[in-house]
């Protein structure tokens, strides 16, 4: 097929234009985080005169950012681990056995992907209160585990089904239990699927703002996203610190993305395509 000579240049112009709109705000955010507030107000667009760390110092003085960070790590890592454990156990059961209720069970879990759980937030809040979990990191760990389970079971079940049965038959003849087969034989072969599940849920838990907004009011139990709310609520005049906070919240995700951009993009879309 012959292309008009203007077609290709047009492609590049559109792609560059959109790419700069996508990236410029991020660049601006990082750049501004190295400028003291008055410099931001005077020259918002220019590069920082000297890379000042003052905004970061102010940030840490104003809000317990390190505590937020610690909480975010604990919540995300624990939730991801629980999802991997619960998800692979359930998916193994669904994919490797053919009890008559297995299809119904699978469907029951998948239904969760269609449930807009935010609309159940009132009963959920009262439940957490009754369980004594409000203002506890466990409220977040449990809700992220619960919301992550359906998609993880979908992905892992699909993967278990592609594995040849012969793999485990040998182990079964040797008398290995299901748990041993799962742990020693199947899981080591499932790294790509486990990686996908980890990435999707880690991003979800790390970035979520809605649930801690409802469940957490104690400053010392806040995760980074709600911590940003405290920062913007009380120190909204110190733009340097604000940009520093935004940059610092996004940094871990960006670093992980640069290490494994392919897995990230495949992981996040995997859920939608299946």
């Amino acid at each position: 097929m012959k292309e008009n000579i203007w077609t290709r240049p047009l492609y590049y112009i559109i792609a560059f234009l959109v790419a700069s709109i996508s990236l410029y705000p991020l660049f601006l955010m990082i750049m501004s985080s190295f400028k003291p507030s008055n410099e931001i107000f005077m020259n918002p667009l220019s590069l920082p005169k000297s890379f000042s760390l003052e905004p970061y110092r102010n940030l840490i003085e104003q809000v317990p950012f390190m505590t937020y960070f610690y909480n975010s790590v604990v919540v995300s890592v624990t939730a991801v681990l629980l999802i991997l454990i619960c998800g692979s156990l359930a998916a193994f059961y669904i994919a490797r056995y053919t009890f008559w209720w297995n299809n119904a069970l699978f469907f029951f879990f998948l239904m969760g992907m269609m449930i807009p759980i935010k609309l159940g937030i009132v009963p959920l809040f009262i439940l957490m209160k009754d369980l004594g979990l409000t203002n506890s990191l466990w409220s977040l760990i449990f809700i992220y585990t619960a919301t992550g389970i359906p998609l993880s079971i979908l992905i892992l079940t699909g993967f278990f089904r592609t594995m040849p049965v012969e793999l485990e038959e040998a182990a079964r003849i040797d008398g290995a239990t299901d748990l041993r087969i799962l742990w020693n034989v199947l899981l080591p072969l499932m790294r790509p699927a486990l990686g996908t599940v980890m990435i999707i849920n880690f991003i979800q838990a790390w970035n979520d703002f809605f649930f801690p907004l409802i469940f957490i009011s104690n400053e010392m139990k806040k995760t980074i996203p709600v911590g940003m709310l405290s920062l913007f609520g009380e120190y909204s005049a110190d733009w340097g610190a604000l940009f520093a906070g935004l940059t610092l919240s996004s940094l871990p995700m960006m670093i992980l993305f640069f290490i494994a951009s392919k897995q990230f993009m495949e992981g996040l879309t995997a859920g939608a395509i299946k």
């Binding site: 991020l26 359930a90 069970l105 439940l127 919301t147 996004s250 993009m265």
Partner: protein, 323 residues
Amino acid sequence: MNTAETQVKAVNKPAAKTKTKRKWKRWAIHLFPIPALIIYGLFIVYPIFAAFTYSLFDWNGLVRGAFVGLENFEALFSLQPYKDLFWNAFQHNILYFAVQMIVQNGLAFVLAFIIYKKIKGAEFFKIAFFMPRLLSIIVVGFLWKLILNPNFGALNVILGKFGLENLQKAWLGDPDTALMAIILVNSWFGLGFAVLIFLAGIQSIPHELIEAATLDGAKGWKMMSKIIIPLMMPAITIITVLTFIQSFEAFELVYAMQGSQGEPYHSTDTLAIYFYRLAFGGTSGGGSSAIGLGSALAVVLFLFISVFTAILLYFMRKKEVEM
């Protein structure tokens, strides 16, 4: 069979021993889905069902009162200010969906096509479009709130540099532009994701099909409308449904940029923000039993989203062609 018997038999016949052992193993396997079932059942399935029952009661703060049947629903649709607030927010959600479809998804389709055409640096462009998706939506909201600030925000400063002072605005303070600004920020955030889904859709079309169509003289718009779009219907369906659900659940970005009142003057209010106000943020316009009303709104929204998603899926699946 008691234990003593089992042991005797086991000694006599090794086959029996493996049988009981296998029986235990068979039971153990049923423990596997239990942890997932408990966590998922307790924290997802139960609250959604409970939300339905909550909507049928009168509430006093967090304490449940008398059974009132459908009164909460009636109030939501017939009493002021609830009625006006509902329709006001509902219109905003519809606009949210429409603009997202045109700006975010339309542009994403074009970009996916451009990447598919093997331009140089395709990988760089994919990464660039995708980067905003890594941020927490609250960070996105706050970042753009700073960029759109009327006095020191980057957007107005840039407009000033290009001599476009007359275009400078208090983007988020003006009821005419605030909602649109939020929706466009949302498009900025979601663009890369849509590009990747569309790209996966185009790339799944077999090359032979496109070559055959080219030989038959299909090109330009005809190629697009008769070959590429029909074969991409699965991807288009996914994006449409996801955009629909996300538009009608829109909460975080509005909350970050305009607060729980949908400032200014409810011009950015959405159903989810209104729901949050009813359920948690005190009351908007008197009345004490806000949890009942909030739950009623949640039920309405839930049913609306489910029914429309089902309808969308039904009609769009019909348009999908077998490859």
